[in-house]
């Protein structure tokens, strides 16, 4: 299996594609072209792309675009998608108001 650990490996030039303008992450409005550029900037994992561009950091937390980002990385680096880890999942499952999250009862005797 090809390794992506050497971050200086030659992945070829970034060739623009006609659909680079389509939006991949709808919450944060990140395009396919921006994601492909990030890969060529050295971001080889879903977590790195997310931290670099904010894709998957919006309201749905990547539940929609996670797989798409993964397949874009796989294609650009010429590896199989199964080789790439998904982004870390974080609580809460759905956005929760601070007053609700903070409202857990505290009993001080």
């Amino acid at each position: 299996m090809k390794s992506i650990n050497d971050r200086s490996q030659d992945i070829g030039p970034l060739v623009s594609q006609t659909d680079d303008g389509i939006i991949i992450c709808r919450c944060e409005e990140i395009t396919k072209g921006e994601i492909r550029q990030a890969i060529h900037d050295g971001m080889f994992t879903v977590n790195e792309i997310r931290r670099y561009l904010r894709s998957g950091m919006g309201l749905c937390q990547g539940q929609t675009c996670g797989k798409l980002v993964k397949s874009l990385i796989a294609r650009e680096l010429d590896v199989i998608p199964a080789q790439l880890d998904p982004a870390n999942s974080r609580s809460p499952m759905r956005p929760v108001e601070m007053k609700v999250l903070g409202n857990e009862e505290v009993h001080h005797v």
Binding site: I4, N47, E48, R51, Y52, Q61, R90, S91, G102
Partner: protein
């Protein structure tokens, strides 16, 4: 792939990445070995983004002040990535007389180092930040403090260093340092042995285990800290905020979300069945703290919470130092929860220390052999 370079850096956090960048700028060949799959997976991607001088120990204050003056303002341009550096001051808030005392003590120390920080009262506080509740009665105010985006800063240094030819190898957990003829020479990973005349260990808490393989120890402990972030809100304020009791700290990011860090007090005792976990009480507790200071944020929605480890030093100040007894070995760890703000200055000065043998800022107060037992 060549296994030899001028310098090997162990740890692809912001300290390792920034040092790699400044070394490459000086023309040295550098290899960065990162244990995990992701560059910047450690504290560097998990912190609260504070770029502060106020509240700093006087031993690291010169480095913090120098970085804020000389590196942070131009960093986005230099790295070609928006690090969202915002220099609109830091308010450290208090509600009680005990808080006032803590804040006054910190302020007096910082003033003695030449930092512009002063105590202000409730009205002055609300003139700077009108969203704070009336319970807030005192604060220390440092107008030159601020915040930045830790994710883009950490990965920005990585991107730029990589462009300059620095070799980054992920999934390379180093487990042994080896000397040849008394000097550092080899770094061993499960897949390969790398060689250099100079090695920097910048692996956070895990530096300890690695340094032990050449008989060096830095007294530190791993300490868990938790953070949370809200959905994007309309712009409210630009300052960095903290409290005298450190119940929470945070800021509103350029994106509009509020990033806050806090703790329940139970973090060191969270369940750990081989995998350390966060407790559900952490985020709830932080929210309660925030709402007391910022009633207006009660309806803001939390979208994500996470935790990170601090490498807390015995005296809560970093170790940045050459190790003369192992020639060629350098240490940069034990940042004790405030290594993000000083990272650019640290990286710059560590690169000088490694390449030139001396640095712009005197780092001798941060030496690895400063720890002495009680008399």
């Amino acid at each position: 792939m060549s296994k030899h370079s001028d310098v090997i850096i162990i740890g692809g956090g912001i300290i390792g990445n920034a040092t790699a960048y400044y070394l490459a700028k000086k023309g040295l060949s550098v290899t960065v070995l990162e244990a995990s799959k992701d560059i910047g997976i450690g504290g560097s991607s998990r912190n609260g983004g504070g770029v502060r001088q106020s509240g700093r120990d006087t031993r690291e204050l010169p480095l913090a002040m120098w970085g804020i003056k000389n590196l942070w303002p131009g960093l986005s341009e230099e790295l070609g990535v928006d690090v969202e550096y915002t220099q609109k001051g830091n308010l450290r808030l208090g509600k009680t007389e005990a808080h006032q005392k803590i804040l006054q003590g910190l302020t007096d120390k910082a003033v003695s180092c030449g930092l512009d920080v002063r105590m202000i009262n409730g009205d002055e506080i609300r003139a700077i930040n009108p969203y704070l509740s009336d319970e807030v009665t005192c604060a220390s105010w440092c107008p030159t403090d601020g915040h930045a985006n830790p994710l883009t800063a950490t990965l920005g240094y990585y991107k730029k260093a990589r462009e300059l030819g620095v070799r980054f190898i992920t999934e390379s957990p180093c487990f042994e340092l080896r000397k040849i003829k008394g000097a550092i020479r080899q770094v061993v990973t499960p897949d390969a042995i790398y060689e250099a005349d100079k090695v920097l260990v910048a692996a956070g808490y895990d530096s300890r285990k690695l340094l032990a393989t050449v008989g060096i120890d830095v007294p530190m402990m791993p300490l868990k800290m938790e953070c949370l972030v809200t959905e994007a809100e309309p712009p409210m304020f630009l300052q960095m905020l903290g409290t005298a009791e450190a119940d929470f700290y945070g800021h509103q990011s350029k994106h509009g979300s509020f990033v806050f860090g806090g703790s329940s007090g139970f973090e060191p005792f969270n369940k750990d069945n081989g995998t350390p976990i966060s407790s559900s009480i952490g985020a709830s507790c932080t929210c309660r703290g925030i709402i007391k200071y910022f009633p207006a944020l009660a309806d803001a929605k939390i979208v994500r919470a996470w935790a990170g480890w601090l490498d807390d030093c015995a005296d809560h100040v970093p170790v940045i130092s050459p190790v003369e007894e192992v020639p060629g070995l350098y240490i940069a760890c034990a940042f004790s929860g405030h290594g993000f703000g000083i990272a650019p200055a640290a990286g710059y000065n560590i690169a000088e220390m490694i390449a030139d043998g001396h640095s712009t800022i005197d780092l001798s107060a941060l030496r690895y052999d400063r720890f002495k037992p009680k008399q």
